[in-house]
């Protein structure tokens, strides 16, 4: 296993397991999580900012005087070993009272005694084990979602209890119908069923009444409306009949209906992935702490909320800027990819303005803070995303649009039935109307639709596609156009070697790679990391340099094992150092620097020996995906913050029309363009600069790899950076929708027959109790039998 370990504990456990000869465990494990395993980097942070008072206000809940609580997101956990290790912390670190890990959500709740251990100590304890604790804000959203879940669980439980008992009682009752039952028993069963049904209708069925009421108030359609009418009509009429001592009661059908409908909702609710807390967005994008240089020159780590405009902060190479501000000292490069989608590193020097969330790539710089937190450009962007109006879906749920015809026809039919049978007496008409209301409940549809969506969601998640809701699937099935972001979506968002060229006959490639590996070792810089990864892939043996000097943002020079001088760095810097460029080298350079890539040269003995052209490399599957989408009748387009020429070149290589490749677009413009394309446009993106567009598009598809912000705002989220999942999502969505339509047809067929029988007086409580489950089960069977997102070709 080459991928590295999530933590020191896993490493130790791995060695141990290997000595036992049980490495098969890793094969099993890797099969499931190979795409999410990412080594967690050790942070140099001392977690001093955890002790800040402003930090405590946002992140620490005081439960008692000697017990406080913090919630952490732990991006690196994914196995049982991690759970075990973290939950053992209280035994090792005094003051930590309890650690509870939630493996699926990748978070932990830590309880500690603030009189024994400082919050920073808790942070350090996690860091010691190799986990990076990212505190998550204690706002109401998570707990209210949890209490909503538990309320739903109680409603479901009560409905299940009542429905099962009523069903048993009605078995006896229907039996008695045929054989004749003593009147006192029938009465007992009726009254007990009534009592059991009261909590079902007044408590468990509340979600249906609430959505119907809301849909009436807002004049929007919802499938719950005919369901609510059936539940309420069936219950009230049966209650009246019980009190009057009449025969026609439907408590069994009504309670079973509520239970099955809730069960369907439950399937949908728990199979769709719950999406993270939106208020942590800003924190996940820009650092929580900053290192402030004080008057006396000493450095102190503070919580970002305590940072004031005018403070001077130090940002190390490879770290994100914590605030908007002006560089006061140092020279470096900045990667604005997250914010703007630009793929190239931009040089910065004193006096330049930088934005929070962008990454320092080069050397340490000092920044005078001007805008912090919500006031920063990133903060304003996040706020805009969060306050984006809830999409008014023009297409709307197909099932909901059907509901209005349902309601109108059922009510008309009920009125007609009542008038028609009134001649035979009020009670005759009354009984016919109740049976009509009960049997015409579109319950098959109400149960099967959520279960179909839930199954689709569950299967899709297994394929690495997270669906936020069912409506997104319906919109996706109707999509006509797909707009891609470029950086990080179509491309990998990280530098790779586009072209390399050996320009001296005195060296071989393996010698060049040895020099590169030795020079770049242990350097935290995206280019260095890329070179080291490639060197490791090539199996280059590590050699030690005699000496090394790093010139930030320019290059690295050193003395190799044979006492020859070696260098790697930008071409201008090498020229300045008086490196000899051969004729070959000059020719190759002319060819490469004319392009749009970053060029790096390798030097030995003052002679340029190799050149690498680096650029953001395209995802290998991108072209195939575009072809597949075209074949499915979808138009593809690109919108990027990167320069027009780069965008168009990428588009060309994918076979797209130049007019469909828009470059130099700000995040705000992007969202406007996407919105203009309408409900049938799908937007695929990753970074924070795509967030707004993702939330405004007909369907927003977020791709893993960039910022987690796309997770919170997109309708569909791809867990692996694999574009072919988009094709799969579209196929799955289309299949899901066609299945829902099929169920609608089956359900309508049953309803029409049942309603006809009810109006003509052939259906009583017994027949209703038989027909209702028959329709539901046939539809259920059909949804389980052919669930979408089967993933034919894994």
């Amino acid at each position: 296993m080459r991928s590295g370990f999530c933590c020191a504990g896993c490493h130790a456990a791995h060695d141990f397991i290997k000595t036992l000869g049980l490495d098969y465990f890793y094969e099993l494990r890797d099969r499931e999580i190979s795409w999410s395993a990412k080594p967690v980097m050790r942070s140099s942070s001392e977690y001093d900012h955890f002790d800040d008072l402003n930090f405590a206000k946002v992140f620490i809940a005081e439960e008692t005087a000697r017990q406080s609580r913090m919630n952490f997101q732990l991006p690196g956990i994914h196995c049982a070993a991690c759970v075990w290790l973290l939950e053992k912390l209280p035994e090792v670190v005094s003051g930590i009272l309890q650690v509870r890990v939630d493996l699926m959500r990748g978070c932990a709740v830590v309880r500690f005694d603030p009189t024994t251990i400082a919050p920073s100590g808790v942070g350090k304890a996690f860091a010691m084990l190799g986990y990076k604790p990212c505190p998550s804000a204690l706002d109401g959203t998570t707990s209210s979602a949890a209490s909503g879940d538990s309320l739903f669980a109680v409603q479901l439980g009560v409905a299940a209890f009542a429905a099962m008992n009523v069903m048993v009682l009605f078995f006896a009752r229907h039996q008695g119908y045929l054989t004749s039952m003593e009147h006192s028993y029938a009465k007992l069963i009726a009254w007990v069923s009534l009592m059991l049904s009261v909590p079902v209708v007044t408590f468990s069925a509340l979600p249906f009444f609430r959505t119907s009421w809301a849909s009436l108030k807002h004049r929007r359609l919802h499938i719950d409306l005919p369901i609510a009418i059936a539940i309420l009509g069936g219950f009230v009429a049966s209650a009246v009949n019980t009190i009057l001592g009449r025969e026609e009661i439907y408590f069994d059908t009504v309670t079973a209906l509520v239970f099955l409908l809730l069960l369907g909702r439950w399937a949908q609710r728990f199979m769709m992935k719950r999406v993270g807390n939106a208020t942590d967005l800003l924190h996940s994008l820009s650092p929580l702490s900053a290192i402030v240089v004080q008057e006396d020159g000493s450095r102190r780590e503070v919580y970002i909320g305590s940072l004031a405009p005018g403070d001077v902060v130090v940002v190390a190479d490879g770290e994100a800027f914590p605030c908007d501000g002006t560089i006061v000292a140092g020279e470096s490069h900045v990667n604005n990819g997250l914010l703007t989608g630009e793929s190239r590193l931009i040089p910065i020097k004193a006096g330049d303005f930088i934005f929070a969330g962008s990454k320092n790539a080069g050397s340490e710089v000092r920044v005078r803070a001007s805008e912090i937190g919500k006031a920063s450009r990133l903060g304003r962007l996040v706020e805009k995303i969060q306050t984006a109006p809830v999409r008014e879906s023009k297409i709307g749920r197909f099932v909901d649009r059907i509901s209005i015809y349902f309601v109108i026809s059922v009510l008309l039919l009920a009125a007609f039935t009542f008038v028609f049978w009134f001649g035979s007496g009020f009670w005759m008409a009354w009984d016919r109307v109740i049976s009509l209301l009960v049997v015409s409940c579109p319950c098959a549809l109400g149960i099967a639709t959520p279960i179909t969506l839930g199954l689709a969601g569950m299967r899709a998640a297994r394929r690495g596609i997270l669906l936020k809701d069912g409506e997104a699937l319906e919109r996706l099935a109707r999509a006509k156009e797909i707009i891609f972001d470029k950086t990080g979506t179509l491309t990998k968002g990280e530098l790779g070697i586009e072209e390399s060229c050996l320009v001296s006959s005195s060296v071989t490639w393996s010698q060049v790679w040895e020099i590169v590996e030795a020079l770049e070792k242990d350097i935290e810089h995206p280019i260095a990391e890329m070179f080291l990864r490639l060197a490791a892939d090539r199996g280059i043996a590590a050699k030690e340099l005699k000496q090394r000097e790093v010139i930030g943002g320019q290059g690295i020079s050193g003395l190799d094992w044979d006492n020859r001088s070696v260098q790697i760095g930008s071409i201008p810097w090498l020229k300045k150092n008086g490196v000899h460029f051969s004729a070959d080298a000059k020719f190759a350079l002319q060819k490469l620097t004319g392009g749009l890539s970053t060029v790096v040269g390798v030097v030995r003995d003052h002679e340029l020996v190799a050149i690498f052209a680096l650029r953001d490399v395209m995802r290998p599957e991108a072209a195939e995906v575009v072809r597949n989408l075209n074949r499915r009748g979808l138009r593809c387009a690109i919108m990027s913050g990167d320069s027009k020429s780069v965008t168009q070149e990428v588009g060309r290589s994918l076979g797209l029309d130049t007019q469909q490749c828009l470059g130099e677009i700000t995040p705000e413009e992007k969202s406007r363009f996407v919105e203009e394309r309408g409900q049938r446009a799908v937007f695929v993106g990753d970074g924070a600069n795509d967030g707004l567009a993702l939330s405004r598009a007909g369907v927003g598809i977020g791709v893993k790899g960039g910022a987690e912000i796309s997770l919170a705002v997109s309708d569909i989220f791809l867990l692996k950076p694999d574009l072919s999942l988009i094709v799969e999502s579209i196929d799955g969505a289309r299949e899901t929708v066609s299945q829902i339509h099929r169920h609608l047809a089956i359900s309508l067929f049953y309803n029409v027959i049942a309603a006809t029988l009810a109006v003509t007086g052939y259906i009583g409580p017994l027949a209703a109790a038989l027909v209702m489950p028959l329709s539901s089960f046939s539809v259920l069977a059909s949804s389980v039998w052919r669930a979408p997102f089967r993933g034919g070709c894994p």
């Binding site: 759970v83 493996l103 209890f161 007992l188 059991l196």
Partner: protein, 51 residues
């Protein structure tokens, strides 16, 4: 057959006790996280020396 007037409420009462048990488990958040406990029990075994 009049025993049914006692047995029926009695069986309901028994069912109700189970309902209460379910409500208790929901209230104590036992349905919050359905995955980690399955993993946690793998590690619960303590190796105690000298026992």
């Amino acid at each position: 057959m009049n025993i049914i007037f006692i047995l029926l409420p009695l069986s309901l009462l028994l069912g109700f006790v189970f309902l209460l048990g379910y409500l208790w488990s929901v209230r104590t958040n036992q349905f919050e996280d359905l995955n980690t406990p399955a993993v946690r029990m793998l590690a619960d075994e303590e190796v105690r020396k000298g026992e």
